[in-house]
């Protein structure tokens, strides 16, 4: 039987802003060639024409769900060049925002997973529960999606007193909900049939392909920048890195559930331990790093995001390179979908949490 080539995306309901060129033998996938680049915006070049403050909302845009985590390496790079010492309270608030963002992003991942396996409740519940954490982030930053909250030298404002109580409420509620999620979604026999043993990425292949984040940890590699190169106050907080040995779609979904649990424990600890004091340095808007180069990275909800910043002492970055986790996970799509059936393609590639805007930059 001859091979059939099918284009899935960018207008197909089961794809994101990218195209998959799928070669089929009957219903079986012979090869998948991802074709990204539909939402390329030249973020690196654009950042050379914006000053360091204007770049804050700019660098959130590639992964707007994950705004604070995307800003982490950027503010670290600028602080590194300017040799700034950020107040400890500011660092705690950064961690709280980053972990809130991780939960918000993981819940969105879960919701779309539900759409791709045809489970409408699995879409509605995470979206409804996500609202609690978005409200919390709104209380802290005043925004619901693009927070623009992390600045070089601290965070934009102090957190209100009521956040502590609300965060504990939301976390206690959501911990109970996570148990329900596991019982209703993860252990559903049909969901297990659709996800277990699908799209297996072995430990060796995962390292060879250079995937990062939850995808790497689901394949059995214990790698997390928060533990490996602790930044902000992550070394003072007690949390685990969930690792699974299976490396299939189900394991990747399970890793996301466990990470939400760890994030909530981090938020609770951070709110308990947070010291008083200022939240930012008073730079009077004068952010102009001296000439030099620096590299920084942080663990976003999709994996390691890295920034390489070169400054010539001007108002704007001389050159900025950003390496995003989705682009590194993109290569795994063609690897894990080989030999699957066409109906398994959307849930399999979504289990990598591939975010086209972030990959195209």
């Amino acid at each position: 039987m001859s091979e059939l080539t099918v284009n899935i995306g960018p207008q197909h309901p089961g794809s994101g802003h990218f195209r998959l060129i799928v070669k089929l033998d009957g219903d079986k996938i012979v090869e998948v060639i991802p074709d990204p680049g539909y939402v390329h915006r030249g973020d690196e070049k654009v950042s050379e024409y914006k000053n360091y403050i204007q770049n804050i909302p700019h660098f959130e845009r590639p992964a707007i769900l994950d705004a604070s985590n995307m800003l982490f390496p950027y503010v670290h790079a600028v602080e590194d060049l300017m040799k700034l010492e950020v107040p400890v309270r500011g660092q705690y608030i950064r961690v709280i925002m980053a972990e809130l963002n991780r939960i918000i992003s993981h819940l969105y991942y879960f919701a779309i997973y539900g759409i791709f396996v045809g489970h409408s409740t699995m879409f509605m519940w995470p979206v409804a529960d996500r609202e609690h954490f978005i409200d919390l982030a709104q209380m802290i930053s005043g925004q619901r999606v693009g927070f623009a909250f992390l600045l070089p030298g601290g965070v934009r404002n102090d957190i209100p007193e009521a956040v502590k109580e609300r965060a504990n409420e939301a976390c206690n509620y959501f911990e109970k909900r996570l148990i329900e999620y596991e019982r209703i979604f993860m252990n559903n026999p049909i969901f297990e049939k659709r996800a277990k043993g699908m799209g297996i990425l072995s430990k060796e292949d995962a390292i060879k392909l250079g995937v990062v984040g939850p995808t790497l940890r689901a394949s059995g590699v214990k790698s997390d920048i928060r533990k490996d190169e602790p930044y902000a106050v992550y070394d003072k907080l007690d949390f685990d890195i969930p690792v699974s040995k299976d490396g299939d779609s189900w394991a990747r979904a399970w890793i996301h559930i466990e990470e939400m649990r760890q994030s909530m424990s981090i938020i609770k600890q951070a709110l308990k331990d947070i010291p008083s004091g200022p939240v930012k340095l008073n730079l009077r808007g004068q952010i102009r790093p001296p000439p030099g180069e620096t590299f920084s990275r942080a663990e976003s909800s999709r994996g390691a995001v890295s920034f390489y910043l070169i400054s010539n002492g001007g108002m704007t970055p001389y050159r900025l390179r950003m390496i995003t986790p989705s682009f590194r996970n993109l290569r795994a799509i063609s690897h894990i979908t080989k030999g699957l059936l066409l109906a398994d393609l959307p849930p399999a590639f979504w289990s990598l949490d591939y975010w086209p805007v972030e990959a195209d930059r």
């Binding site: 791709f116 409740t121 209703i184």
Partner: protein, 398 residues
């Protein structure tokens, strides 16, 4: 007439059309009433029946369209209007119930209680929409499929025994009629996909065909065991055979098999592969719009009601249930029990939609041909055992 620009203009146009319609009806009926001798005393009877409604009923009976007539049964009560009303309210209930399960509010504005008039609003919307068909489609087949699907659902109502005294048709082989009618469903789905001449509908139609054929065999065998125990192909006899014990107690495996095949036959989640939206958009419904789509949905939900009724008849004891109305109201009591049980089956099917994702086509076919068929034969064996050992008092009751 001037161009419609504002909402008052639209209302004016609408009132002119409606006024013309009313005038036309008055003229036609006026001519009919005063020309046909049989109905020429209609005016007198109309006036008389304001004080005494029985007069009107007797008069309608004399014309052959009264409450006891076949026409009334087919058109109104156990027949089409009743089923369509149930279908409309089940659509509303499904949306509301799923919304509650999913932490939403669901329909809210149309109607007094929780948007109960939402189906009517939807139908009004669908009627006013433009009917679009793909350029290369086979128009005749494309537009006849909605009627075919509607007719298939409605023909099942003919043999549905809502009570022992009040049913449209009693036949010695009503069970065979049911399966003959169900056999038309895959054909209508294939026709819809074929006539659309578009890729997603065609894939959806083929999936529907595979799925329905895979599950129909198990469905027939599960129903066959019921026939063996009751000793009759007549649905009324089957219900009467369950007066002491329901068949779901005797053959739980058969009931489960029949229920699962029912889900596949109705394309409900987890077997809604012909309409899997993340893979093939809307399946064979993709190209349908306006009232053609509305008719397909209505037909599907009428079939949903009718097949749930068949499940009630075969396994849940049909109309049997404690009598709680005074003597003389036996038929009302029976209809109530039948409707309650049928609605219960429908609610369970709706709950399953809220908690399950969908199967993949190869998993579904493997499940259908290897697991379900084996279970159906096992159930047939159990039925034969019960029959042979004479455990069931009614067996062989022809």
């Amino acid at each position: 007439m001037s161009e419609i620009r504002t909402f008052p203009d639209f209302l004016k146009r609408l009132s002119i059309i409606l006024g013309a319609l009313v005038l036309l009806i008055i003229i036609i009926f006026g001519v009919l009433i005063y020309t046909i001798p049989a109905v020429s005393n209609f005016n007198d009877i109309l006036l008389e029946s304001i004080g005494n409604p029985i007069v009107m009923l007797d008069y309608l009976d004399s014309l052959g369209v009264g409450i006891n007539s076949l026409f009334f049964k087919i058109a109104v009560f156990p027949g089409y209007t009743w089923a369509a009303l149930i279908a409309a309210e089940v659509i509303w209930f499904e949306r509301k119930f799923l919304a509650k399960m999913q932490l939403r509010v669901g329909p809210l504005y149309a109607g007094v209680i929780g948007g109960i008039l939402q189906p009517i609003a939807d139908v009004a919307k669908l009627i006013f929409k433009e009917m679009i068909s793909p350029g290369k489609s086979d128009k005749l087949i494309f537009y006849s499929v909605p009627l075919l699907i509607n007719a298939v659902g409605a023909s099942l109502l003919a043999v549905l025994p809502v009570s022992d005294g009040w049913l449209i048709m009693r036949s010695d082989v009503s069970m065979l009629i049911v399966f003959a009618v169900i056999g038309f469903v895959p054909i209508s789905v294939l026709l819809a996909g074929w006539a659309s001449n578009s890729k997603f509908p065609f894939v959806g139609a083929l999936r529907g065909l595979h799925q329905m054929i895979a599950f129909e065999v198990s469905m027939l065998i599960a129903a066959l065991s019921v026939v063996l125990l009751s000793g009759s192909l007549d649905l009324v006899n089957i219900v009467q055979a369950q007066s002491s014990v329901w068949f779901i107690v005797l053959m739980p495996i058969g009931a489960v098999v029949f229920f699962i095949t029912l889900l596949a036959e109705l394309e409900r989640i987890p077997f809604d592969l012909p309409e899997a939206e993340s893979e093939i958009v809307m399946g064979y419904l993709t190209e349908y719009s306006s009232m053609a789509f509305g008719n397909i949905q209505l037909g599907t939900y009428i079939r949903f009601y009718a097949l749930s009724g068949i499940f009630t008849t075969l396994f849940l004891g049909g109309w049997h249930g404690p009598q709680f109305l005074p003597a003389g109201f036996e038929i009302v009591n029976q209809v109530e029990w039948f409707t309650l049980k049928t609605l219960l089956v429908m609610v369970i099917i709706i709950i399953l939609r809220g908690v399950n994702p969908r199967f993949r086509i190869d998993q579904l076919l493997r499940f259908g041909w290897s697991r379900l068929l084996v279970l159906a034969f096992l159930n047939l064996f159990i039925a034969l055992l019960i029959l042979e050992m004479n455990w069931f008092p009614f067996s062989g009751g022809i």
